[in-house]
């Protein structure tokens, strides 16, 4: 039973008022505005209840987990609509005809947008090879998405998935090409384990720095990314890695006993997909069902209360960062041992950074992140075929990705566009607690 004035707890009160001043100052008092104010108040109060010193990441987690699925889906839809305008306006004929022959220009625009999006959809779901490519693109994104999502739940923003993926890929590749004569059942797991361990270690570093010295994980992971990118580039050109018959920085090939077997010979989709699925299930248990996960979520939402309850946030921070690193390392192994079968300079190709988008789109939840990884993989695979078939640049996919992040980062914007009442969202919010 709701009480009158719910959401105006003493702590959240005056700050919520700040927000109300802003909303009220620029618009008429109406039901919508009141609903907006109530929603803003809820959000503000929620952020405040985290403690006055709530960090940016804690606020981010609160904002994300407070966003409903509907808002997320609408964010994707909005991004696609704006993407459609960009497709249309990028065409010279449409732009030129807008004033002189608007009817023709509009119908051409509609045709272009529908062709591009049809190609995008066909390119990811239109046949068995398309589905294969979609899954190939999704596999590392699911893993790097989780690599960001797990620390996010502990209140940490892991920008370092890229570096952790590189560390994992390098070690997996090294084990993959330097050992020979082993059977697949030994060699492949060994190479995967090496990748996961290297990633975990590369995630442990910022974790322990944060736990022991308070070094901010965003700063240290950005720096560690740069180190990983540059050092890996140098390493593939050293004798240890470089293919003897080549002068450019390309490593020796991963031997077949360390490659993820394909399901069918003519499709690139391979058993690294199973690795991603198994790890996702394990992470779901860890974060949503286990006692460690309880601590992880508690530390993420309110480290002071977690400490008072007898938990040790510093240990959880190290655990969360190491787990994130391990997942990114697994993504590196999946890419190197599953698709590329060799190491090159820049083999990571931004997969770690894409993980940030995936985790945000998945609202930091495990199931949501997996779904977001599949969606992003589909956009990526479909985008390539869209470029080939319709000439619409692959960069459009990047624009759509970026727009999705913008819309998700500003849930108020989506709510305003679609005039969602705060009450509709409140019911969604009340229904889901942590662990459900």
């Amino acid at each position: 039973m709701a009480e009158p004035g719910r959401g105006k707890h003493p702590v959240g009160n005056d700050h919520a008022d700040d927000r109300a001043v802003e909303s009220q100052g620029s618009s008429e008092a109406s039901d919508e505005v009141a609903a907006e104010i109530a929603a803003a108040q809820e959000r503000e109060a929620k952020a405040l209840r985290l403690g006055l010193e709530a960090t940016f990441t804690q606020r981010l987690v609160a904002a994300l987990t407070g966003t409903s699925v509907i808002v997320t889906l609408l964010a994707v839809a909005s991004a696609l609509v704006i993407g459609g305008f960009i497709i249309a306006l990028s065409d010279d004929v449409v732009r030129a005809g807008l004033l002189s022959t608007p009817g023709e220009a509009l119908s051409r625009a509609a045709r272009m947008v529908s062709r591009a999006y049809t190609a995008l959809l066909r390119g990811s779901f239109g046949g068995r090879s398309q589905i294969s490519e979609m899954l190939v693109s999704s596999t590392p994104l699911i893993l790097t998405g989780l690599a960001v999502a797990v620390p996010l739940r502990a209140g940490l923003f892991n920008i370092g998935a890229e570096g952790q993926l590189i560390a994992g890929g390098m070690m997996a590749g090294l084990v993959g090409f330097s050992l020979t004569g082993l059977p697949l059942v030994i060699h492949l797991p060994l190479a995967i384990a090496a990748g996961i361990a290297a990633g975990a270690l590369y995630g442990w570093v910022p974790g322990i720095l944060k736990a022991r010295t308070g070094a901010h994980e965003v700063i240290s992971t950005i720096m560690l990314n740069n180190i990983a990118i540059l050092v890996s580039g140098w390493m593939v050109s050293t004798a240890l890695f470089r293919r003897p018959d080549r002068t450019d920085p390309i490593s020796k090939p991963v031997v077949s006993s360390a490659q993820f077997p394909r399901f069918v010979p003519d499709l690139r989709v391979n058993t690294s997909l199973l690795l991603a699925i198994i790890l996702a299930i394990a992470i779901f248990w860890l974060v949503e069902r286990s006692t460690r996960g309880f601590e992880l979520n508690a530390v993420g939402l309110n480290p002071d209360a977690a400490t008072v309850a007898g938990m040790e946030p510093s240990r959880i921070i190290v655990l969360a960062m190491s787990t994130g690193g391990a997942l990114a390392g697994a993504a590196g192994a999946a890419t190197v041992l599953g698709i590329q079968h060799r190491l090159t300079m820049g083999f990571s190709a931004g997969l770690g950074f894409d993980g940030i988008t995936v985790a945000l789109l998945g609202r930091g939840r495990i199931g949501g992140t997996v779904a977001a990884g599949v969606l992003m993989g589909a956009l990526k695979a479909g985008g390539r075929s869209m470029q080939a078939q319709t000439g619409t640049s692959l960069d459009l996919v990047l624009v759509i990705q970026a727009l999705i992040v913008v819309f998700i980062a500003a849930p108020g914007l989506v709510k305003a566009i679609f005039r969602i009442k705060a009450s509709d969202l409140a019911t969604g919010q009340l229904a889901k607690g942590w662990g459900s």
């Binding site: 403690g51 939402l301 309110n302 008072v308 009340l430 607690g433």
Partner: protein, 508 residues
């Protein structure tokens, strides 16, 4: 200035926050507004300050209808508001804060600091609220900061001042000063709306008091002729027990022992200075004192949250030194932290999760590292019933409960465990009367069960009502404990730092 509200109604999605409220504040009157948390006081005041638009009803100022669509309109109409948490810029001076937004500038937009300083000084002295205009606000104690807020309202020529829970952050002495200031303010026909859920304060300062309950105005009374009991009953809507009903203590052996305890702050200051006392099973020892005199570090050190510099703390004969917080808690200590929002609860967690927050990894709530949600929910449903926690379900997030029910979650969690020692810090802060009554009963019940209860509170009435023995902390040092009864006046003098020898001279 006379203010009249007629039928003011405000609805939020699913909730009627104010339901046809009629209220008249006469010129020169201090009008008290009383109500539990969530009764709609803040919403009503936010309407009056132009932050919310009312869905229905009229606001009349000196019999003229008033339309408020922003705080700017309210300020222009002569309505000022002092929020519970001050809206001051700590790195600005007093004068800069006061003129902020209505400042006079010299050429090239330079602030006329001298004029601001002079005007503020003159205004403050005329109003009987002396402040030094050139001090940085961040350097001032909260009592003076509040005075700055009042002067700020005066500078904007407020004729009606709304004070939202102004006493929550003040010491008893500062409260007296505030009341002086309020009387000075209304002396020339200005009006004040005074919001508080403390009955005594209304009796001390208000000319009339209006009671809100669940969004409705249930009545207006003269606080001087209405008893505290009647006001409490009006506020809660049922007869409330204001006096704690407790039988004489039957103390057993010493359970909690603190010997020459010294705790140092991060900067090396001795915040707890050579404190010794003990608590026996079956008694409540209360530590009174104005906040910030070392109670918080004392509690933190005793419960394993802060290192002990020297001295010893033992529970049932076992020293807690070098043990983790978790070990201390599992060794039979319950702790109600002083700030439930910051330390006692995780707002985003459900009621059930908060009820096992410190038992997350023990049977039957966890098996082989996996949470047992069914066992957790069953346990939570039992506690919700036993402790009368008003929540729709156990999977409702705790952040959406009222303050009193949130505190009941903390109390239920700590009291339902097997504990030998209970440390309760400010257990009823920000809690409505009905819940206070209930929490007090629970603390006494725990004592009667044989637990050693240490109550740390800055509410003198609470300390006197619950304590079997009473100690006072001042500047990190502890005096006492003395067996009750000790008079309120004596405790008050000790809280202000008086020498116990002088205080008890007459009695001894």
């Amino acid at each position: 200035m006379k203010l009249e509200l007629r039928g003011v109604t405000k609805r939020f999605p699913g909730v009627v926050a104010n339901d046809h409220v009629d209220l008249v504040v006469e010129s020169g009157e201090v009008h008290g507004l009383l109500g539990e948390n969530g009764a709609g006081k803040s919403t009503l005041m936010n309407i009056l300050y132009g932050l919310y638009g009312a869905d229905e009803g009229d606001i009349l100022l000196d019999d003229r209808p008033l339309t408020l669509s922003s705080p700017g309109d309210a300020i222009d109409a002569g309505i000022g508001m002092v929020h519970q948490h001050f809206m001051l810029v700590p790195v600005f001076t007093v004068a800069e804060n006061i003129v902020l937004g209505v400042e006079h500038t010299l050429q090239f937009g330079r602030l006329d600091r001298q004029r601001a300083s002079r005007e503020v000084r003159e205004l403050a002295e005329r109003a009987g609220l002396p402040v030094d205009p050139d001090v940085l606000v961040g350097d001032l104690p909260v009592g003076i900061q509040q005075r700055v807020e009042i002067v700020k309202a005066l500078y904007r020529d407020a004729r009606l001042l709304i004070l939202d829970e102004p006493t929550a952050v003040l010491t008893p002495q500062q409260i007296d000063d505030l009341f002086e200031a309020i009387r000075a303010f209304v002396a020339d026909g200005r009006s004040v709306i005074f919001i508080s859920h403390k009955l005594r304060e209304h009796q001390a300062i208000a000319d009339r008091v209006s009671v809100l309950r669940r969004g409705k105005l249930v009545g207006t009374a003269d606080p001087r002729t209405t008893s505290e009991q009647d006001l409490a009953n009006m506020m809660v809507g049922r007869p409330v027990q204001l006096v704690v009903d407790k039988k004489a203590a039957e103390p057993t052996d010493v359970v909690l022992e603190v010997d020459n305890l010294v705790v140092e702050s991060a900067t090396g200051a001795r915040v707890v200075d050579d404190v010794s006392f003990n608590v026996r099973g079956g008694e409540i020892v209360a530590i009174a004192g104005v906040e910030g005199n070392g109670q918080d570090p004392l509690v933190r050190a005793m419960t394993g949250l802060m290192p002990i510099a020297s001295g010893a703390v033992s529970v049932s004969g076992v020293s807690i030194e070098g043990r983790s917080r978790k070990d201390v808690l599992r060794g039979g200590v319950g702790h109600i932290p002083q700030d439930r929002g910051k330390e006692g609860l995780i707002a985003g967690f459900t009621v059930a999760e908060n009820l096992i927050l410190n038992l997350w990894d023990v049977e039957p709530f966890a098996r082989k590292g996996t949470l047992q949600f069914r066992a957790i929910d069953d346990y939570a449903r039992q506690l919700v019933e036993d402790f009368d926690i008003r929540t729709p379900t156990v999977s409702t997030s705790v952040g959406s409960l009222s303050g009193g029910n949130q505190q009941k979650v903390v109390v239920a969690r700590e009291l339902s465990q097997q504990i030998d020692v209970l440390v309760a810090a400010q257990p009823t802060r920000g809690v409505d009367v009905g819940s206070i009554e209930y929490i007090h009963e629970q603390l006494v019940a725990k004592r009667n069960d044989g637990a050693a209860v240490l109550l740390v509170s800055s509410e003198l009435d609470e300390v006197l009502a619950l304590a079997d023995r009473i100690a006072v902390m001042f500047h990190g040092r502890l005096v006492g404990p003395w067996p009750m009864p000790v008079s309120k006046e004596d405790v008050g003098r000790l809280m202000a730092g008086a020498d116990p020898a002088d205080v008890f001279e007459g009695a001894a």
